[in-house]
């Protein structure tokens, strides 16, 4: 009897490696577009959002897409290589958390670099949209919010992709509605998300909003686990 070689840890490593490759492409495109746009519109009387808030919309959507692709691309592949659903689930769980952290770190690093570059090139970049430079606690809050919102977008994508795969288009459409509701809730909980049903922010204190977001994350993980644990692999 051989020992198990497709462990959750190994699946995490392989998945994360692949996703980081994709992410580098995505972030490079985003960065180039950003630079082009900023240098075109920038002038003494124009201003533009900073990279952190500019990218948050697109990088969150990117996570949603990766979440959907988890079921259409990665899941059948790993099943064909002899992984169990459970180990794939655990591997994806870890890889998605790592990816959310990685994207956040890269975007924040790029934002710092841009601020320096803006000072040097004389671009007028709004830094008020997302505050991560005023104090250490503001930085930590922004960092955590970024990671959480990226992870939630990923998990919603995963739920939608899995529901379509498992239960067909009708339930799939319902899962999209469910996803929008989840994003609405995230909008209440975290300032930086872009979908909100309320024009006025309800400013929840951090010690309420962060734990509640974590609860939402756990719920989404549980839903995905329920959907994947005995799903039929289509061929």
């Amino acid at each position: 009897m051989n020992s198990i070689i497709l462990t959750p840890k190994k699946i995490t490593r392989l998945l994360f490696g692949e996703q980081v490759k994709w992410t580098m492409w995505f972030l490079s495109f985003m960065f180039v577009i950003y630079i082009v746009v900023v240098s075109l519109v920038s002038g003494p009387h124009s201003s533009f959002v900073d990279l952190a808030s500019f990218s948050n919309g697109s990088s969150a959507i990117y996570m949603l897409v990766i979440g959907i692709l988890t079921t259409t691309v990665f899941f059948p592949y790993y099943m064909q290589q002899g992984a169990t659903r459970k180990n794939f689930f655990l591997g994806t769980m870890l890889a998605s958390a790592l990816l959310a952290i990685t994207i956040t770190v890269i975007i924040i690093l790029l934002s710092f670099i841009l601020q320096f570059a803006a000072g040097w090139a004389g671009w007028n970049i709004h830094t008020q949209e997302v505050d991560f430079t005023s104090s250490f606690s503001a930085f930590i809050y922004t960092f955590i919010s970024f990671v959480i919102s990226h992870l939630i977008y990923f998990l919603i994508g995963w739920v939608i992709g899995l529901t379509f795969y498992r239960a067909g288009w009708l339930y799939g459409m319902l899962s999209i509605a469910f996803g929008i509701i989840c994003l609405g809730i995230t909008g209440i909980l975290l300032e930086i998300t872009h979908i909100s049903f309320f024009t006025q922010q309800i400013n929840l204190p951090i010690f309420v909003s962060v734990p509640l977001s974590l609860v939402l994350i756990v719920i989404l993980f549980v839903i995905n686990h329920r959907l994947i644990k005995d799903v039929t692999v289509k061929i």
Partner: protein, 293 residues
């Protein structure tokens, strides 16, 4: 290492349609099992259950004495090669990288053997997987299936798109590698005439049921063709299970299923009837014939 398989009353339903209906069989280890069945007979559904791609709705299935579903040890040692390549369409990896990466997944994978096979199948190693033709994609899959040396190796119409010479290479390699590294191979096909020499045992399914299971020799020994004059044949075959009959002028030829007793053989000889063997292909075609055909 090689797996024994036991299925007891396994059923799979799709809504109102029963794809597999209380199927029971045993597959011995170290053998090549031919799984024969017509389109829609339930072959792929059955194999999906074996590969733990789906749960059976009823019955029990054990591989090496264990339930394969979500069983990490059994699943990493079971490889299921099927005739569709949806995944490969989106693989932008080079073939050599794909062949190398398989070592990450399969405990018994032999990379050197995989490259040796790639040479035999004339796969361009530096080409990207998605650029391969249909037949070459099948060859790539076949290579992975062979080189993984999984204790349970399933080929489901895995030759799709391969030309005849390539199929020959594939069949030969199955036999060669099986001799050195015995495992349980299930080879599902409806191209019976060109693959019958591969099988140690035959499992024939029809409309979700097991039609017969036996060693290849036993199955073949149960089929005869008897040729003679119309009258003689009608008299001879009246108590036999006739699968098919053909007439040409006053001569009639029937395909018979079942063993002939010594007495019957003698009677046939004395009457001057010509008794010949039936091929697995003939048996397959006529045993799975439906009433309106």
């Amino acid at each position: 290492m090689s797996y024994a398989i036991e299925a007891k009353d396994v059923s799979v339903k799709y809504k109102d349609f029963t794809a597999i209906n209380q199927v029971s069989f045993q597959l011995e280890p170290d053998k090549i099992h031919g799984l024969l069945g017509r389109n829609g007979a339930g072959k792929t559904t059955l194999l999906s259950v074996l590969a733990a791609f789906r749960k059976a709705d009823a019955g029990s299935l054990t591989i090496d004495g264990e339930n394969p579903f979500e069983n990490p040890g059994i699943m990493q040692n079971t490889i299921f090669i099927f005739d569709q390549h949806k995944d490969l369409e989106y693989s932008y990896e080079k073939i050599e990288d794909t062949l190398k990466s398989m070592a990450d997944f399969r405990p018994n994978y032999d990379e050197a053997y995989a490259f040796q096979l790639a040479k035999k199948f004339k796969l361009p190693l530096t080409k990207k997987v998605n650029q391969l033709s249909k037949g070459k994609k099948s060859a790539l899959q076949a290579i992975i299936g062979l080189a993984s040396r999984a204790p349970l190796t399933i080929f489901d119409e895995a030759y799709l798109g391969m030309d005849a010479p390539t199929r020959e290479i594939f069949y030969k390699e199955i036999l060669n590698d099986q001799e050195e590294h015995p495992r349980t191979i299930i080879f599902s096909t409806h191209l019976v005439s060109e693959t019958d020499y591969l099988f140690d045992e035959v499992l024939m399914i029809h409309q979700g049921k097991v039609l017969l299971q036996d060693t290849n020799e036993q199955v073949i020994s149960k089929g005869f063709s008897v040729t003679g004059s119309l009258k003689q044949i009608d008299a001879f075959a009246k108590d036999l299970e006739v699968l098919n009959s053909q007439m040409l002028g006053g001569t009639k030829s029937v395909m018979v299923y079942g063993e002939l007793s010594e007495q019957q053989k003698n009677a046939a000889n004395q009457a001057g009837l010509e008794v010949g063997p039936l091929s697995l292909h003939d048996l397959f075609v006529h045993l799975t014939k439906e009433e309106d055909e």
